[in-house]
Subunit: 394 residues, 2 copies
């Protein structure tokens, strides 16, 4: 899919490794309404700090992104490099400097060298093409094993609006090698507050619900650029119907990319949805789902294809969620292994073991204590996770 007015490109700049795409650019022919969502970490990378500052104007015209170096924990010098590389792109594109967003992913704490950017910039801009998003999606990969792209089309008051998103994982974070990055471009005509709201609610329901290892990056970044080229009726406060339609389409793109990230989580062999239902409070349900989804014991049991509900109930027990252990039921897909806190025997366990052999399944924990629910998407913890993270950088 192409999006009217947007182009992208990528080159081998040699930022950390030779012979791989590691520098990418997204360009909008006109300044686009742009909003984002960023890491909640108290340690924010230089590009995140710069982007947040620049997005106060609610628009951008380009995104410059590199892998190989996160430009995090690099102090004032890091901010200067972020500004400087952004300025190079602006000059080459002949646009305003503060309309460039920058993003980085890679090793934390190493000074980023501007020279590869200087060398690569002319070629990077020269290669811009409406078909360039596939190259760009490869340039932002770190330990990802597959590039991640998603598209959607939605009708806004009769006008077709298109969205195209790219993302990388390969975990909620791997602080010195990966980062969750996601860029979406759309030809929607949308007001900044409406876009901001759609991003916030979408991220909350998708990217904020995935976990590979429970860590949070210094560089997590989601950016959405809307250039209005579709010429649709304005999506804004005064047209709640258009807002709902656009938000749903953006949500679909986010969720598709989020699940691609989990499926490609470091060492992952399975994608597991943890659903907690029947909770008294929403926060309790979320905390319970997250605690189960992040438990090393639960995740190794998934890898071992062991329908080990004892580990699930133990994780639940140490979560901040209030519940009565004697009311809990636990199901693997539709196989209910636990009722009223008690296991349902060997025959049921053998059916559950079949579910565990699948590449994707859902664990539903019903607390029978209220109406609130929460869903978190996780993967298993395998030998390869340890291998990837123990060997990296060595």
């Amino acid at each position: 899919m192409k999006i009217k007015g947007f182009s992208a490109s990528a080159v081998q700049a040699g930022i950390r490794y030779a012979d791989r795409l590691d520098l990418g650019l997204i360009y909008s022919e006109v300044p686009a309404v742009t909003a984002g969502a960023f890491t909640s970490s108290k340690v924010k990378a230089a590009p995140v700090t710069l982007d947040i500052e620049r997005l106060q104007q609610g628009k951008a015209q380009a995104i410059l992104v590199n892998s190989g170096n996160a430009n995090a924990c690099t102090g004032e010098q890091g901010l200067e490099i972020a500004r400087k590389t952004g300025a190079m792109a602006a000059r080459q594109l002949a646009i305003e400097e503060n309309l460039v967003q920058v993003a980085s992913t890679g090793v934390i704490g190493e000074t980023m060298d501007a020279a590869p950017f200087t060398r690569a910039m002319p070629e990077l801009v020269k290669r811009l093409s409406p078909e360039g998003f596939s190259d760009l999606s490869q340039a932002i990969m770190t330990t990802d094993t597959v590039a991640k792209m998603s598209t959607a089309t939605v009708s806004i008051a009769g006008t077709e609006v298109n969205l195209l998103g790219v993302a990388k994982g390969s975990g909620m974070i791997m602080p010195d090698m990966a980062t969750m990055l996601c860029f979406v471009v759309t030809d929607a005509q949308i007001a900044f507050p409406a876009l901001k709201e759609a991003i916030t609610s979408g991220v909350n329901e998708t990217f904020n619900r995935i976990t590979v290892d429970g860590d949070t990056s210094t560089n997590d970044t989601v950016l959405v650029m809307a250039n209005g080229a579709a010429g649709n009726d304005w999506i804004d406060e005064e047209n709640p119907g258009t807002k709902t339609a656009f938000s749903a389409a953006l949500h679909d793109v986010f969720k598709d990319l989020a699940l691609q990230i989990v499926a490609d989580g470091e060492g992952a062999t399975k994608v597991v949805t943890i659903r907690v239902v029947g909770a008294r409070k929403k926060e309790g349900a979320m905390n319970a789902a997250r605690t189960i989804a992040n438990s090393a014991l639960v995740k190794t049991a998934f890898f071992g294809e062991d329908a080990n509900w004892g580990r699930i109930i133990a994780a639940l027990g140490r979560s901040d969620c209030q519940f009565d252990p004697e009311k809990v039921s636990i199901a693997f897909n539709d196989v209910v292994m636990v009722k009223n806190g008690l296991g349902q025997g060997a025959e049921v366990e053998s059916s559950a073991s079949e579910v565990l052999k699948l590449d994707e399944f859902t664990v539903t924990v019903d607390l029978h204590d209220g109406m609130e629910t929460a869903e978190v998407f996780t993967c298993d913890l395998s030998y390869d996770y340890v291998k990837i993270n123990a060997d990296y950088r060595s």
Copy 2:
């Protein structure tokens, strides 16, 4: 070391596996002042529930402990089995039923069969001996690779008082196979409130500071029995000096056992102390230390012997601790790799890499923001952790 008036024993009862010690007994000739500390999980195993109830009387005369089955998530039936097996021991020992404490470790959610207890009880009591604690320390092992014992002697107003403790890991918890259990016997003459206080503060500074995988068991139990056989001056509120001396000795035994548990953590190859200093608030320091100590990325870097401070600062960034990233320093033993939030270069990194090759080292994170400190003991995350936890039960 023997402790006057205490004996212990263990037998092969065949609770889950044949040909291994799996049932143990600790016996005091007289009812001993006894206090404990138990799991904070909302899901408490049957023996934990029973012990807490019985300890309201502040004394006990025996502890019956089995491995192979945790008797957790077993409902009313589980409580009955706990009472019934305790009663068997009481009958055989000719003591009051409610003076028996029970403890279990092993698989969660399976009904425990009383028959092996019935068959084994006469032999178990017959074998009681002052030298029996070594056998007992083996009977409570699950994935532990070594038995854990520690002793201490302290002078209380001129009288020698002895302590002997046994414990098992091999993680803060492995919900369906391991559990943190610790039993200490002492000939100290001590009042119940003083013993309770010494346990609470000791556990808080030792067992509550270790982590293998961040999970918390349904069965965690610490029990201390004091029979007064040493004939020392009473340790109580009126003799603060004796309280301090006894608490320090108990703390030493707890800490020794706690570090043995971390060193024998599932798959562990290293013991790492995470020290957070210079924090504004105590809770912040604890939260930061725990978040770093539980990070899968930090732990795999330790396994890979990679002085990867970026992962440490990223874990710090997502913790609940308030700090200024530009003030943080990080040291591996005495090698300061990070000052004012910035890495100190390749030469320092190479010295730090040497520290990472050690079996034990300390990571000190200085926030330069206040006077509070916290210390947590952790281990690395290796292939074997995944192997042990993915293969178990299969």
